[in-house]
């Protein structure tokens, strides 16, 4: 009777996971394979002709190279900003100070706003003539140029996009780290205080070790998200000036849906995914081991 139950259970487990698995295969895995196939199919060709021409082309494509560099810088700086802001705000919010609910809600606002809207916000704020940024800076530094351009300035366009993305993304890291902080038992701090451990020692010996798993997970997830960021760039700069703020998502989108070179776009998308996979491999292994 018992073993019969176990046999039944083993199979009914499949039924529970079947619908989700099926959808993932049909909507994500199957199209991914089609993209893989297109990436090794001659331009405009059908059937099973094999070519590596598109991948060879990617090696000599200055725009793609620039876009890869942009994406790496975008991800790296976003993570740095998210981590610094997220951790310091989580620490500040974890002290149960009066008014902390208000501050938490305000600090969360950027996250509740769609990417597109965030891009529009900063596009308008940084507008050289009618935006709010230049007058604000001129209040502090009156000699600052009145019609200073941000988003059409080749050196400042990209940092501006990164700052907008830091604004957009720090709350999620903050929320995750705050949840982690709250999970650290108070007694640990009390015991350390009795032992006479100072603020810094408590931070490095209790807080950071207690947070290490969550920090890893938060930053790894954040990396994957930022690597694919699309709407913010589209709304804020559209990739311009020129291709200076282009990231991989926007470039692949344009190559596919505006230039209609499907095969080349597919090769780019495969490269992009391969890089993302390699970058997130440590995280996958880590989480896989822990489960």
């Amino acid at each position: 009777m018992r073993s019969g139950h176990a046999w039944h259970d083993r199979h009914i487990g499949y039924l529970f996971v079947l619908p989700a698995t099926l959808m993932l295969v049909v909507v994500l895995i199957f199209p991914a394979f089609i993209t893989l196939k297109a990436s090794v199919t001659p331009q405009g060709g059908a059937g099973w002709h094999f070519t590596l021409a598109h991948y060879q082309k990617t090696l000599h494509d200055p725009v793609l190279l620039q876009t890869f560099k942009n994406t790496f810088a975008f991800v790296a700086w976003s993570l740095v900003g998210h981590f610094i802001l997220g951790l310091s705000l989580a620490l500040a919010l974890n002290q149960a100070l009066p008014g902390q609910t208000f501050f938490r809600l305000v600090a969360l606002i950027p996250w509740t706003i769609p990417d597109v809207v965030a891009g529009i916000f900063f596009r308008w704020v940084l507008n050289p003539i009618h935006g709010a940024m230049n007058p604000l800076i001129r209040m502090v530094f009156p000699s600052f140029p009145a019609e200073f351009t941000w988003l059409s300035n080749p050196t400042l366009a990209f940092p501006s996009v990164i700052i907008a993305n830091v604004w957009r993304g720090y709350p999620l890291v903050m929320v995750m780290l705050l949840a982690g902080l709250m999970a650290i038992p108070r007694e640990l701090y009390e015991a350390a205080a009795v032992d006479g451990a100072g603020r810094l020692r408590r931070f490095f010996h209790i807080t950071l070790p207690g947070l290490s798993t969550i920090i890893t997970i938060a930053l790894a997830l954040d990396m994957v998200w930022e690597f694919r960021r699309f709407a913010l760039v589209v709304a804020m700069t559209g990739g311009g000036p020129g291709t200076l703020t282009e990231v991989l998502s926007t470039l692949v989108y344009k190559t596919y849906f505006q230039f209609f070179t499907f095969e080349y776009a597919s090769a780019m998308a495969i490269l992009m995914s391969a890089v993302l996979f390699v970058l997130s491999l440590p995280y996958i292994i880590l989480v896989g081991r822990e489960r």
Binding site: A20, L89, A107, F121, F257
Partner: protein, 284 residues
């Protein structure tokens, strides 16, 4: 003893001062673009382009908020977004919870690999699959339909939904299932009648995640919808910003109204979200 107490008190005060300064600065950073948008949305178009730039509208007007419904079809965009996000939230939560329950309660063969597979699909970029998915939809006559969008969004949310609910179900004692089995209930009955009601906090966070994802997405909507009647709010706003002459008051008004559901949902339900994150994703 008393000196330690006083030094501790001082330390706490320093912490509080530092925390408050940081919080005030961060709040200013978080809110400042938002305030400027709000201010612009209450201006006339002429005033939004007049100098010097003002933070408070001189002639307060709701013109932009009325024109977005009359001059542009934002009513239609809104309805589309509500349908797409609502259906996505419910479907992905149900399908994800089924999978999460399967992973949590059954030791079937290939379970670990399948879990890893779910996790790995989260790494798939939209742009990797969107082209072929677009072609499939076109072949099925589902291009330019909300159904095509919903199927995509539900699938994207599934790994997260399954992962989160698995974590949640793991924290519910298995004895409850066993009690149900003893009473002669089927596994599906146990899932829906006993486990689901307890798992509601976990479900709320998944609902919220899916709703937000669908509401905020631009990439899929941009590729799968080309006609005005099927555009979502984010898509409508993105088209406004692409127009040759941007009407900033209307664009900011539409952006703010378009963000309203996500802002409200989040403010009301953030406790669930944090709880859910802590249980589902954060707990190592």
């Amino acid at each position: 003893m008393s000196s330690r107490l006083s030094s501790e008190l001082r330390e706490r005060r320093v912490d509080a001062v530092m925390s408050y300064s940081l919080l005030v600065l961060a709040a200013a950073f978080a809110i400042f673009p938002f305030i400027f948008m709000l201010s612009t949305s209450f201006k006339s178009e002429a005033e939004s382009l007049s100098l010097p730039v003002s933070w408070i509208p001189k002639h307060f007007t709701l013109q932009a908020y009325s024109e977005m419904w009359t001059l542009k079809p934002f009513g239609v965009y809104f309805w589309n977004s509500i349908v797409v996000s609502g259906v996505t939230a419910v479907l992905s939560t149900v399908v994800g919870a089924l999978a999460g329950y399967g992973f949590s309660r059954f030791q079937f063969r290939g379970r670990t690999s399948l879990l890893a597979f779910f996790l790995a699909t989260q790494m798939i970029s939209g742009v990797l699959v969107i082209g072929p998915y677009f072609q499939i939809l076109a072949a099925l006559d589902l291009y330019n339909t909300l159904t095509g969008l919903i199927i995509a969004y539900v699938t994207i949310c599934l790994p997260f939904a399954a992962w989160m609910s698995k974590g949640y179900f793991d924290s519910i004692p298995k004895e409850l299932d066993e009690a149900g089995l003893v009473d002669g209930a089927s596994r599906l009955q146990i899932f829906f009648r006993i486990i689901c009601p307890i798992a509601v906090p976990g479900t709320v966070s998944t609902l919220l995640f899916a709703f937000l994802l669908a509401w905020q997405d631009l990439l899929w909507a941009m590729c799968l919808v080309s006609i005005d009647e099927k555009r979502t709010v984010t898509l409508g706003v993105a088209y406004l910003v692409g127009e040759f002459v941007i009407q900033w008051p209307m664009l900011t008004a539409a952006s703010l109204i378009g963000s309203l559901p996500t802002i409200l949902l989040y403010l009301f339900l953030q406790r669930y979200y944090v709880e859910g994150l802590a249980r589902g994703a954060v707990k190592g």
